[in-house]
Symmetry: C2
Subunit: 388 residues, 2 copies
């Protein structure tokens, strides 16, 4: 009997320590009560001698749809039942409970962790076997996503952070973990956007800015910051180091919805730039359940556009030939339901394909070092010349 | 004749506009005088009817050596002559002059650019031919490096920035482009370390910190920042998002040499972690000419170490098997001249190979979420237990 008890502890290493009790925020209390609800369901079923199970919203493409009314990608109502007493599902069931347990510990302790750190914490040999709870990170990640959608909690609410990327400057003061950060006094480096920007960690203290300009790359962001674009145009300037990480998307979402700031995106004229815009605007297909708190349907695509080669009088030397993957991706994106019925977007993508080349934002710099900050972008804003 | 003039303008698009005159810093004046010297050499040769040439320090591995006295990798004295009137070298000669010209324009204008932006600015058709000045970015990058070593200027002094990565918090106030940034009041996000941290852009205004802790990854940095490690231990906490970019290395170098702060590195226990340490400490082999202003020979490797699996009582579940590439890289690194004669390093790498597995810093988190911040790192510092 003693051996069995020891084994049980081994199965779930996170239970070994008594978690320190931290001060809980309202968000934490909500997430905890959802976690407890999940566990209670299992306990009640066991007591009533019914098979324990969890119903997990299906994260399949077939359960994702675009809502033309809300203008976001959202999940359907289909769920998948995961049962303990099913040989094919028992391991996933155990893993789901482990992740829920790990997240509960984090909230109890008032700490956060990376998904890598959580994986290590939960990984262990299952007693009397050679089986690991999780073999590798890629076994753990989908279970984390399962728990997210089951609890209807963002990963950030589960105290899980991602690798931070992206920076912000501009006419806004944010309070981050109690520190007031004046983003108009952040020099050339800027404020590094953290991975978790939920309201209990970050509050908007003061904001005079009239809009947000989001650029794709850090190098372009530096050009705009050096020319103090945000000061001249009274805005906030962000970048996400390419495809923006969750923290940056969530921050843009909050700036847009809470402070009512329009969000303009300055991205490359290629399928990747279109895709970044699509994710900012409608949400990502893989993580459709987050759209309501991540997507910004009113985000605008400021450029650069397929017509810019001629419109801006660029030289042939800035052209980069489209390859087959580019062409295929461009056609896919043109058929996305949120682009399919928009004539300006169809024209934009057709023109890209007709051009046969793509353009990076840096191409505008070939005209003049400050052309993009002093002429191109101000002209687009002044003429309300963007794609929706 | 008129046609010829137009052609000549086309060859060198950067000459088309009259550069705005910016206020020059002492560093700018020095770089400009070196650029002028480079051009003068060509002009004088032409006037005296000698063949114009530039002598470029050879960036070949055979011209790189480790100086045991200075404890950095440095370039030898060998140079390669690049001539205008040599069919094999004429294009590279022209490209060298174009890059020098582009850099001069940036300094004259008081602006900076990415290497991508410079490439676009300099790219163009050579008149009456189908030849481009540069075909692709990879043609331009080595020429930029040639100009760097010829002028003995860092890329940053040539107003060229890289993609920014990495963040800083801790007990230091820096002045960045005129803004005072108190890194002890930077919340969970931190100050985004800019790409150019030269003294005319960034000054150290006030510093109470006793040392710098540099960690490899942003996720580990967040763990340390959340636990306010830098406050408890009165230090500065930085990360470089993996292999630290030039801005982070240069900042660490300045913190170490100007403020006399010891630099401790907390990296993964694998060949990649060793390599990151090696570059921080001795400089990189590819860019040996920067070592005097980038390398920190006294940087210390705090961990994590091959003995930590046993010393810290980690569970089998944190092991990641070494693959063939890991083993090969580990042996290469063991034979680096700066590790070859150090017994502790030979033991460290031998133990890694004997273990047959590697460990990530996150493995320590499997013991307890704050084990690495509250026990492991403080113990290493207290016992002066590191590798040199």
């Amino acid at each position: 009997m003693a051996k069995k008890k020891a084994s049980r502890r081994k199965l779930s290493p996170v239970t070994q320590r008594a978690p320190m009790k931290a001060k809980l925020t309202p968000r934490d209390k909500r997430t905890l009560s959802q976690l407890t609800g999940l566990a209670d369901g299992v306990v009640v079923a066991a007591r009533q001698r019914r098979d324990p199970h969890v119903d997990i919203p299906a994260r399949a493409l077939s359960n994702v749809r675009y809502s033309p009314r809300k203008r976001i990608i959202e999940m359907g109502k289909r769920t998948t039942r995961r049962k303990l007493f099913d040989l094919a599902q028992a391991k996933a069931f155990m893993q789901t409970m482990l992740v829920a347990r790990g997240v509960k510990d984090l909230i109890d302790q008032g700490k956060s962790n990376s998904i890598r750190g959580l994986f290590y914490t939960l990984r262990g040999k299952i007693a009397d076997t050679n089986e690991h709870t999780f073999d590798q990170q890629s076994d753990c990640d989908p279970i984390i996503e399962d728990v997210e959608v089951t609890l209807a909690s963002l990963r950030e609410e589960m105290h899980l952070f991602a690798d931070p990327k992206g920076a912000m400057v501009g006419n806004i003061v944010v309070t981050d973990s109690g520190d007031d950060i004046d983003c108009s006094r952040m020099g050339s480096g800027g404020y590094a956007i953290p991975s978790i920007v939920e309201p209990d960690i970050m509050q908007f203290k003061q904001c005079n800015a009239r809009f947000v300009l989001h650029v794709e790359k850090g190098t372009v962001w530096q050009r705009f910051n050096e020319d103090k674009f945000w000061r001249k145009h009274n805005c906030i300037l962000t970048h996400g180091g390419g495809q923006p990480p969750r923290g940056v998307r969530r921050l843009l979402h909050r700036l847009h919805h809470e402070l009512k700031l329009p969000v303009y995106c300055l991205l490359d004229n290629d399928p990747w730039g279109y895709y970044i815009y699509s994710v900012i605007k409608q949400g990502s297909i893989n993580l459709a359940f987050e759209s309501t708190r991540m997507a910004i349907p009113d985000a605008r695509f400021l450029g650069i556009r397929s017509i810019d080669f001629e419109r801006c009088g660029l030289s042939d030397s800035v052209k980069i030939d489209l390859n087959d993957t580019d062409r295929k991706r461009a056609r896919q994106i043109a058929s996305y339901p949120w682009f399919a019925h928009k004539k300006p977007w169809q024209r934009e993508i057709k023109k890209l394909l007709d051009n046969g080349f793509k353009l990076e934002v840096e191409a505008l710099i070939s005209k003049d070092i400050s052309y993009v900050t002093e002429e191109y972008t101000p002209a687009r804003l002044k003429n309300k010349d963007w794609l929706d």
